[in-house]
C-alpha cells in the first residue's frame, strides 16, 4: 500500500483519515474501537511504516500518542465522541504543555445515535480545552485536513482535534492520494517547565495557552480552510462538516461561509460575510456552538430557531426547515414491520440473559453486543450508562437496596476498558455483588477487534494474554470462577450460589463470539411428535427459532449452540442428522 502515487480513488471517510495521517508522516497511532471511528486505525494498521495499536481505553491511547509527540514523532489518537470523555483528562492538560512533534486526535461524533448511547457534540471540547479543531466535510477533506493538522499542531505547539461525524466517517467519496511526507524525528529535550505540570509551571503555561489562542485567532482569518462563497446575497449560511455538502446539493445558489476550522472562529471574516448577505443563519448539528459564539460577538444570526438541535440533520431536514419549495413528491407505505438488531443465532450472551431473567436479578449492564439483552423477550437489563459503569452502579444499587439480587454484566473488552477500578472498589469496600464478565474473545459490537485478553495485537502479532481469573484473584475477589456460556444449568447453579453470597463474586463466562467461530455447529431441529409447544426454546429470542402454529428451527440460521435443546423440558430438540 505504501507505493501509491497520486491518483483518484473512492474512499470511506475513515480510510481517508488513515491515508491523511499516513501521508502526514504519522509514526505512532493509537485508539480504542468505537463506531463511527473504528476503521481509521484498522486502515492505518495496513501501513507497516506506522506503529498502530489498540489500547485498553481512549485515555491510554491518547496518552501514548501524545507521549510519542512529546518524544519527537508525530502521533495520532482515534476514538468516538464518548471516548474523548475518557481521554479528556489528558486533553485538558496537554493543551497546557503543548507538544513537540505534531499530535492530532480524531474524534467521531454520532448525531442521531446510530450506534451510541448519547449524541454529545465534541466541538465543545475544543472550546473547553482551548485547542483548535478542524471540521472535514467529506473523504477528500478527511485526507487533506488530517495531513495538514500535524503541521498546524507543530506550528502552534498544540494538540489539534479533528471532529468527524457518522456521515463523514461512513460515507465514501472520491479522493486524490499523495505521497507520504518525510518528517525528521525531532530531538527530545527534557524541559520540566513545559512538560511537568506542577502548579508553578502550569501557571506559566496557562499564559502560553492564552497567547497561543491569540495567534490561532489571527491564523484562522487567513487560512484557506475557512472560505466565504458568495452567491445569491439574500441568504448566507455559516456551516461546516458534512452539512456543507448537504447544503451544496440542496441549495446550490445560497451563499455559504464554510468553516474548515471550528475553533477558534474567524470572526473578522464572518463579520465581513455577514455584511454581504441579507439574512445570516448558522447550520450546525447538535449544540448551537457557533451560533452562541457569533451572538456573543453581536453578529445577528439565526440558528436554533430554524434548525432542530436534537438528532442528525439530513438533506430532508434542511429542505423542510429552510427550502420547503424544494420538497419532492414521495410515497410512504405503512405495511412494513420493525427489524431491530438482535443477538446472533449461536451468540454466547443469550443463555446468560435467559438465566438472569429466570432469577429475576437486578442487572446493571454495560456497553457491547450484550446490551441487546435489554430488548424483549430477554428484557433483562436494568441499567446501561457508560463503559465500566455496570459494576459501580451495581454497587450503588446494592447500597440503596441490600435485599436486591444485584448483578453487574459487562463484556471482556469493556471490563478491560473501565471495569477494573470498580471491581477493586467492590472488593475493597466489600460490596456483595456478582460480576459477570462475558468473555467472547473479542470486541464484538464494533466489528471484532482484538484486545489485551485475546492474545493478539492490532497488527496480528502474538502477545501476552490477560488472564481474568488471575486478575480477579490478585484483586482479592473472594470467589473467582469460570463457566462455559453454553452450559445453562451450571450457569444457573453458580449464579444462584453467588447471589446468596455475602461477598463479591467474579464469574468469567466463556464462549467465543459467533462471528469468530471457524466452524458452524450442527444445526438442530424440533421433533414435532415430542414438542408440546411450551415455547421455552423460543423464550430467548433466538433468530433461528420461528414461532407460528408450530415452532420451527430454521436450518440455515441455526448455529447449533444447543441452548434451546438445554431449555427444552421434553428433550424434543436434536441435532439434524445429515444422511
Amino acid at each position: 500500500m505504501e507505493r501509491e502515487k497520486t491518483q483518484r480513488k473512492i474512499m470511506l471517510g475513515n480510510e481517508a483519515f488513515a491515508r491523511g495521517a499516513y501521508e502526514g508522516g504519522v509514526e505512532v497511532a493509537a485508539g480504542y474501537p468505537g463506531t463511527p471511528s473504528t476503521e481509521i486505525l484498522e486502515f492505518l494498521s495496513k501501513y507497516s511504516t506506522v506503529h498502530s495499536r489498540w489500547c485498553p481505553n481512549e485515555k491510554v491511547a491518547f496518552e501514548v500518542a501524545a507521549g510519542a509527540a512529546i518524544g519527537g514523532r508525530r502521533g495520532l489518537a482515534t476514538m468516538k465522541h464518548v471516548g474523548l470523555n475518557v481521554a479528556s483528562d489528558a486533553l485538558m492538560t496537554l493543551a497546557y504543555t503543548g507538544v513537540n512533534a505534531g499530535f492530532v486526535c480524531i474524534v467521531a461524533d454520532d448525531p442521531g445515535m446510530h450506534s451510541s448511547q448519547n449524541e454529545q457534540d465534541s466541538r465543545n471540547y475544543a472550546l473547553f480545552a482551548k485547542v483548535p479543531h478542524l471540521e472535514p466535510a467529506n473523504s477528500q477533506e478527511a485526507l487533506t485536513f488530517t495531513r495538514l493538522a500535524f503541521t498546524i499542531s507543530e506550528e502552534f505547539d498544540t494538540p489539534v482535534l479533528i471532529r468527524s461525524t457518522t456521515r463523514v466517517s461512513h460515507s465514501r467519496g472520491v479522493v486524490e492520494v499523495g505521497e507520504r511526507e518525510t518528517v525528521p524525528v525531532r530531538p527530545y529535550q527534557k524541559c520540566a517547565p513545559k512538560f511537568v505540570m506542577i502548579p508553578a509551571f502550569a501557571r506559566e503555561r496557562r499564559k502560553v495557552l492564552e497567547e497561543r489562542i491569540k495567534k490561532l485567532q489571527q491564523w484562522v482569518e487567513e487560512t484557506p480552510l475557512n472560505q466565504a462563497e458568495l452567491r445569491d446575497s439574500s441568504l448566507g449560511i455559516v456551516t461546516g462538516g458534512v452539512l456543507y455538502d448537504y447544503l451544496r446539493e440542496v441549495a446550490p445558489s445560497v451563499s455559504i461561509f464554510k468553516l474548515g476550522v471550528g475553533y477558534p472562529l474567524p470572526v473578522q471574516k464572518i463579520r465581513e460575510f455577514a455584511r454581504k448577505v441579507e439574512r445570516l443563519i448558522v447550520l450546525e448539528e447538535l449544540d448551537p456552538v457557533w451560533e452562541r459564539e457569533l451572538k456573543a460577538l453581536g453578529i445577528p444570526v439565526e440558528g436554533r430557531s430554524v434548525f432542530p438541535g436534537i438528532g442528525e440533520i439530513t438533506p430532508d431536514i434542511i429542505i423542510e426547515c429552510l427550502f420547503p419549495e424544494k420538497k419532492k413528491e414521495y410515497v410512504e407505505v405503512k405495511e412494513y414491520l420493525p427489524r431491530p438488531p438482535v443477538l446472533c443465532a449461536g451468540c454466547p450472551h443469550r443463555g446468560v440473559f435467559k438465566v438472569l431473567k429466570d432469577l429475576s436479578a437486578t442487572v446493571c449492564g454495560d456497553i457491547g453486543c450484550y446490551t441487546l439483552g435489554t430488548l424483549p423477550p430477554l428484557s433483562s437489563m436494568d441499567t446501561c450508562i457508560c463503559m465500566g459503569a455496570s459494576i459501580s452502579v451495581a454497587e450503588g444499587i446494592k447500597l440503596a437496596h441490600p435485599e436486591l439480587p444485584v448483578v453487574a454484566v459487562l463484556g471482556d473488552s469493556t471490563f478491560i476498558h473501565a471495569g477494573i477500578p470498580p471491581l477493586i472498589d467492590a472488593v475493597y469496600n466489600k460490596t456483595p455483588i456478582l460480576v459477570l464478565i462475558l468473555d467472547n474473545g473479542t470486541t464484538a459490537m464494533t466489528g471484532g477487534q482484538d484486545h489485551p485478553a485475546t492474545g493478539k495485537t492490532l497488527s496480528g502479532e502474538d502477545t501476552v494474554r490477560l488472564d481474568f481469573l488471575a486478575l480477579g484473584q490478585a484483586i482479592g475477589v473472594p470467589r473467582v470462577e469460570r463457566v462455559n456460556a453454553y452450559h445453562i444449568e451450571k450457569l444457573r447453579t453458580l449464579l444462584q450460589e453467588a447471589l446468596a453470597a455475602k461477598h463479591p463474586t467474579l464469574l468469567v463466562v466463556e464462549g467465543l463470539c459467533q462471528l469468530k467461530k471457524k466452524h458452524r455447529g450442527t444445526p438442530l431441529a424440533i421433533q414435532d411428535m415430542f414438542c408440546l409447544l411450551c415455547g421455552l426454546c423460543a423464550s430467548t429470542g433466538c433468530p433461528a427459532i420461528e414461532k407460528g402454529d408450530v415452532i420451527r428451527i430454521t436450518f440455515e440460521r441455526c448455529a447449533g449452540c444447543g441452548i434451546c435443546a438445554d431449555l427444552c423440558p421434553f428433550e424434543a430438540i436434536e441435532e439434524v442428522k445429515t444422511p
Binding site: R8, K9, I10, T35, P36, T38, E39, H114, S115, N138, T166, R167, H170, S171, R172, G173, V174, V242, D245, Y246, R248, E249, V250, T314, P315, D316, I319, K326, K327, K328, E329, Y330, V331, E332, V333, E335, Y336, L337, P338, R339, P340, P341, V342, L343, C344, C369, L372, P376, P377, M445, T446, G447, G541, C542, P543, I545, E546, K547, G548, E556
Partner: protein, 192 residues
C-alpha cells in the same frame, strides 16, 4: 448525467459490498460519487440502507425523499421501508425473498409487496437472486446476482467495467463463482 440510488436489505446480505462495486463502476466511468452507509448496530441482523449519488458534481452522501432514480432491494419488506427515498415512477430491482424479523410470525409479514409497488406507479423488476445464488452454490453471491441484473437497467451497462469493479472489490476472491453470479443475474433480467 446525474443520478442516485438506494440499496436496502438485511444486515449480512452484502449490501455494503454491492454499493462499493457500483461506486467503483461510476468512478471508472468518469463520475464523482458520494455514498453513505451505516456500520455498527445495523449489522446485527438489522435493516441496512446505503445511499449513492453520482454525477459530474456530487455532494451530499444522503439522498432526500423522492430523489432516488433506482432502488436495489435485497429483501421485499425492506423495499417498503425505504420507499420514501424513491422518486415518483422510479424503478425497483427486487430480490423476491422474504425474511421475517425474528420473533414475528410469518403471517404478519407483508404479502403483496410487488402489487403495492406497482399500484403506486413504480416499475418493478423482480429477480430471485437468493434462489439463483443457492443454485450457484453460494448464498454469499446474492449481491453479485443482483448487480448483474442491475447492470442491464443502469446507464452504465458494459459488463467488462462491472467485472473489473467486482474483481477489485472482492480482491480477486472466488471470481469464477461471482462472475457466474453476475452473468446469471444479467441473463435473468434481460430475458424478462
Amino acid at each position: 448525467m446525474r443520478g442516485s440510488l438506494i440499496l436496502c436489505g438485511v444486515g449480512g446480505m452484502g449490501i455494503l459490498k454491492a454499493s462499493e462495486i457500483i461506486a467503483e463502476v461510476l468512478l471508472q466511468s468518469g463520475f464523482l460519487v458520494r455514498q453513505s452507509e451505516v456500520h455498527g448496530m445495523a449489522q446485527r441482523g438489522g435493516s441496512v440502507v446505503t445511499h449513492l449519488r453520482f454525477g459530474n458534481e456530487a455532494y451530499a452522501p444522503l439522498l432526500a425523499r423522492g430523489e432516488a432514480d433506482f432502488m436495489l432491494a435485497f429483501e421485499e419488506m425492506e423495499a417498503l421501508r425505504y420507499l420514501p427515498y424513491l422518486k415518483k415512477g422510479g424503478t425497483v430491482l427486487l430480490n423476491t425473498v422474504r425474511m421475517c424479523p425474528p420473533g414475528i410470525e410469518m403471517k404478519r409479514y407483508p404479502q403483496a409487496t410487488v402489487d403495492i409497488l406497482k399500484t403506486h406507479g413504480f416499475t418493478v423488476i423482480p429477480l430471485n437472486a437468493t434462489e439463483i445464488s443457492l443454485q450457484i452454490g453460494d448464498i454469499r453471491t446474492t449481491n453479485i446476482v443482483l448487480l448483474g441484473g442491475f447492470s442491464t437497467i443502469f446507464p452504465i451497462n458494459d459488463p467488462d467495467i462491472w467485472k473489473k469493479a467486482i474483481e477489485k472489490a472482492l480482491a480477486g476472491k472466488n471470481l469464477p463463482k461471482n462472475f457466474l453470479a453476475f452473468e446469471e443475474g444479467r441473463r435473468c433480467v434481460e430475458s424478462l
